[in-house]
């Protein structure tokens, strides 16, 4: 009886397959036919899964308070990419209880909406960094990046002492923000044109360059001498500024998890 049911159920698959095999037998004699067949078969899945992410509204939440990366933070992000920090650190708190308890509210799509590319990561050799902003002090980050084992003896993270010596290249920042603007990040014209001064200003709280940063990016922006060295704006300044803003771009995640309960 069971065998019979199974046989009946299998039938449609098998006959579908027979038809397909006949078609295949014909197509396997034509390289272009075969090529077109391959492209069609392989196109469907991607279209069905990717295209709707642009059309279904609820895919990306609305966060009116979402702010942009400042030029200094974006420069730090580029350094994060350059050094391959994403090879060890994720920036994605998953919807799992232990992760929420360890790292904080689970990540929302909107939090990375201006991230080109996203840095969700695929390996956690080190802890998740999605909510690292504000968790530690600037000087701790500097110390840790210079040599992680001075603060965390068990750490296996590489040393990045050279960041503290490398003066940040800011000339290309307007071009970089412009490219991001074309990719859909709403940078305004004055943000792009003053990118260089803003980058310097954010790391020099005592200079008058700082005012423009507040004006363009909001009063919440952290304007500090991130690397603790006076005078120079280094790659360390940029990277720490970036780390300190992770998870701080919008308040939506915390309120979101509270609301849904």
């Amino acid at each position: 009886m069971l065998m019979k049911i199974i046989r009946v159920l299998i039938k449609p698959f098998a006959s579908l397959y027979e038809a397909h095999a006949v078609a295949h037998y014909r197509i396997e004699r034509h390289s272009m036919g075969l090529s077109i067949g391959i492209i069609i078969a392989a196109a469907i899945g991607g279209l069905v899964e990717i295209a709707p992410l642009f059309t279904i509204d609820e895919t990306v939440e609305a966060a009116p308070d979402m702010r942009l990366y400042t030029p200094l933070e974006q420069a730090g992000r580029d350094i994060y990419v350059r050094e391959g920090c994403y090879a060890c650190h994720s920036q994605m708190v998953r919807t799992l209880r232990d992760e929420v308890e360890r790292y904080g509210a689970y990540s929302l799509a909107v939090e990375s909406q201006y991230d080109h590319p996203m840095l969700w990561g695929s390996k956690r050799t080190g802890p998740d960094l999605a909510r690292i902003g504000g968790k530690y002090s600037d000087s701790w980050h500097v110390q840790h990046l210079v040599n992680p084992r001075t603060v965390v003896p068990e750490s296996i993270m590489p040393q990045y002492a050279f960041l503290r010596r490398a003066v940040l290249e800011t000339q290309s920042l307007p071009g970089r923000l412009e490219a991001l603007r074309r990719a859909g990040v709403p940078y305004k014209a004055d943000m792009i044109s003053s990118a260089e001064v803003d980058a310097a200003g954010q790391a020099k709280p005592d200079s008058d360059l700082a005012d423009g940063v507040f004006e363009r990016y909001g009063e919440e922006t952290a304007i500090r001498n991130f690397d603790g060295q006076d005078g120079r704006v280094t790659e360390m300044d940029a990277l720490v500024a970036y780390l300190q803003v992770l998870g701080q771009l919008t308040d939506l995640p915390e309120s979101n998890s509270a609301r849904d309960e």
Binding site: G45, E83, G126, Q159, G175, A183
Partner: protein, 550 residues
């Protein structure tokens, strides 16, 4: 090798190399002060060397051979040697990367040697350098043999092979300078990406042109897989690498996609790099060399059809299993999970087809290490696809994701399947290409086999242990019902496994070095032997070309 080109072909080659050199100069000039400038000089050096080689032999006498009488194997030979060189580089980097995780200061106090920069050198070096060159080289061999036709052109295969290696070189040197788009397995920057498109289009054209000349009415299975590999990789590559350069005189670019859409696009690409590069292409290799070496017919043509279309269709859907529980909408995750399970059928159908083909040749498997490489490859292919489908189940992935379990799965596939099938194929192919009686040392093949197997097993077991341990520690609750371990405890717990992994990797690398040595010795010392009937069909009476109608 140049002397086998006609003077017309030499001119074309010289023109291509000169154009490349010119592009190199332009990149060097416009990109000065940026890593792109350094890349310009690398391009110039590469093309300059080619110009020298071509120029040096430019006025050699015209070749006199009748091209219809033989296959063109020079690029295949070069490709094999290059692939083996990349194997040593890529695996060497793998061992170094592994060592850094056990001994973090095991490096020069230098920016270029940090984990984040050399890890992609390992992945690109091994996947694209070793794997890609092996695929290109074997595909040149297989497309000619199964078509019984010579490749239509003598410049195009060199263009593909050398152009591809220029891409790999730019990629790998870029990471050391910090040039990366951060997209896993698609890290090279925009100009390298564009260059790869040019190379890839030539590759596809060359492939179809060869098939068009074939003396067999039907296209053999291996070619279906190579075609799928070439075509789908092209689509994936173009879409995932769409990016806006910050300037045309610098390397930096930004992905046109952002956030959740970028994540899905990246893993649609990332997973299918696994599917169409590391699986489809190597299945092509398996489908040719396994029956060839075993001298047995493929177990089932019908099963081949089922698994080929199954793999082509289902694989594309499953990229979202890399994003379980993330900010990617739940519905996409469900699709990724279910299709991953359905995908297991065609995957196992291929592995089964391979193993059933060996039925009746088990004595050869026992005696012949090359065939044993391929047998183990099929077994690991079955294992890693089973593991993959298992890991794609959401709750399982909740545990495994972000841990070394993934890395264990990767290397079960990458070492056990990809590298094993490649080495088996190389041991089959080298004697044929260089017209030798066999490999120089059968014993060395035997040693390589056991080193590789031991290395893989140690690696994979170490990573299973560390991955599952870490995943469990992250979610262990104490008796009071709160989290038990701080993160750093899990870092400490990984250490013994990281040391074991480095040791396993060292074994695997040693095996590869033995293999390289053996191939070189085969070329230099092994006794000559003309292979049987290794020439295009149209050079003799056509045998039976008629289709046995169905």
């Amino acid at each position: 090798m140049i002397s086998r080109l006609t003077s017309g072909e030499r001119s074309i080659a010289l023109m291509l190399a000169s154009t490349g050199a010119l592009i190199g100069v332009l990149m060097g000039a416009f990109g000065s002060g940026d890593p792109m400038g350094v890349h310009g000089w690398i391009v110039l050096a590469f093309c300059g060397a080619l110009i020298l080689v071509i120029g040096n032999n430019f006025y050699d006498p015209e070749p006199s051979e009748d091209r219809t009488l033989s296959y063109y194997d020079d690029p295949t030979k070069a490709g094999l040697i290059i692939a083996l060189s990349w194997a040593v580089v890529g695996m060497g980097m793998g061992v170094w990367v592994a060592c850094q995780l056990a001994w973090p200061d095991f490096r020069f106090e230098n920016a270029w040697s940090s984990f984040g920069r050399i890890r992609p050198v390992h992945t690109t070096g091994i996947i694209f350098g070793f794997g890609g060159n092996a695929l290109i080289a074997t595909s040149f061999h297989i497309m000619q043999r199964t078509s019984r036709a010579r490749i239509p052109d003598q410049v195009a295969p060199w263009f593909v092979l050398l152009g591809y290696n220029l891409f790999c070189l730019i990629a790998v040197s870029g990471y050391l300078m910090g040039v990366t788009q951060s997209k896993e397995y698609a890290e090279p920057e925009w100009y390298a990406d564009i260059w790869l498109v040019v190379v890839w289009v030539s590759y596809f054209t060359l492939y179809v042109r060869t098939l068009a000349r074939r003396n067999e009415p039907h296209i053999y299975v291996a070619n279906w897989y190579y075609l799928a590999f070439i075509l789908v990789m092209a689509v994936l590559h173009v879409v995932n690498n769409l990016a806006l350069p910050a300037s045309f005189s610098g390397a930096k670019s930004y992905s046109v996609f952002g956030g959740v859409q970028d994540a899905m696009t990246q893993w649609w690409y990332g997973h299918n790099a696994v599917a169409f590069f590391l699986t489809s292409g190597f299945l092509g290799m398996l489908y040719y060399f396994l029956p060839k070496r075993a001298e047995r017919p493929i177990y089932s043509y019908r099963l081949s059809i089922l698994s080929f279309w199954g793999i082509t269709f289902f694989y594309i859907w499953v990229g979202s299993h890399h994003l379980h529980y993330t900010a990617l909408p739940h519905w996409v995750q469900t699709l990724g999970m279910t299709f991953s399970i359905m995908l297991l059928v065609p995957s196992w159908a291929s592995a089964g087809n391979a193993l059933m083909t060996l039925n009746g040749a088990w004595n050869k498997v026992r005696d012949d290490a090359a065939l044993r490489f391929m047998m183990i490859a099929a077994v690991f292919y079955g294992l890693s696809t089973f593991e993959g489908s298992f890991l794609a189940i959401r709750p399982v992935n909740g545990l495994s994701h972000y841990t070394d379990w993934t890395v264990g799965h990767v290397h079960a596939g990458a070492m056990g399947w990809v590298a094993f099938i490649t080495f088996g194929s190389i041991y089959t192919l080298a004697p044929i290409l260089w017209k030798r009686a066999g490999m120089y040392s059968a014993k060395a093949v035997e040693w390589h086999f056991w080193f590789a197997l031991a290395g893989t097993v140690i690696y994979v077991f170490a990573m299973w242990n560390s991955g599952i341990t870490q995943g469990l520690m992250w979610r262990t609750y104490n008796e009071s019902g709160t989290l038990k371990y701080p993160f750093i405890d899990t870092v400490v717990a990984m250490r013994p496994y990281y040391i074991a992994r480095a040791f396993g990797g060292l074994l695997f690398l040693s095996g590869a070095c033995i293999g390289f040595w053996n191939v070189v010795m085969t070329i230099r010392r092994a006794p000559l032997k003309e292979p049987e009937r290794d020439y295009p069909m149209n050079s003799e009476e056509p045998q039976v070309a008629a289709v046995a109608g169905k």
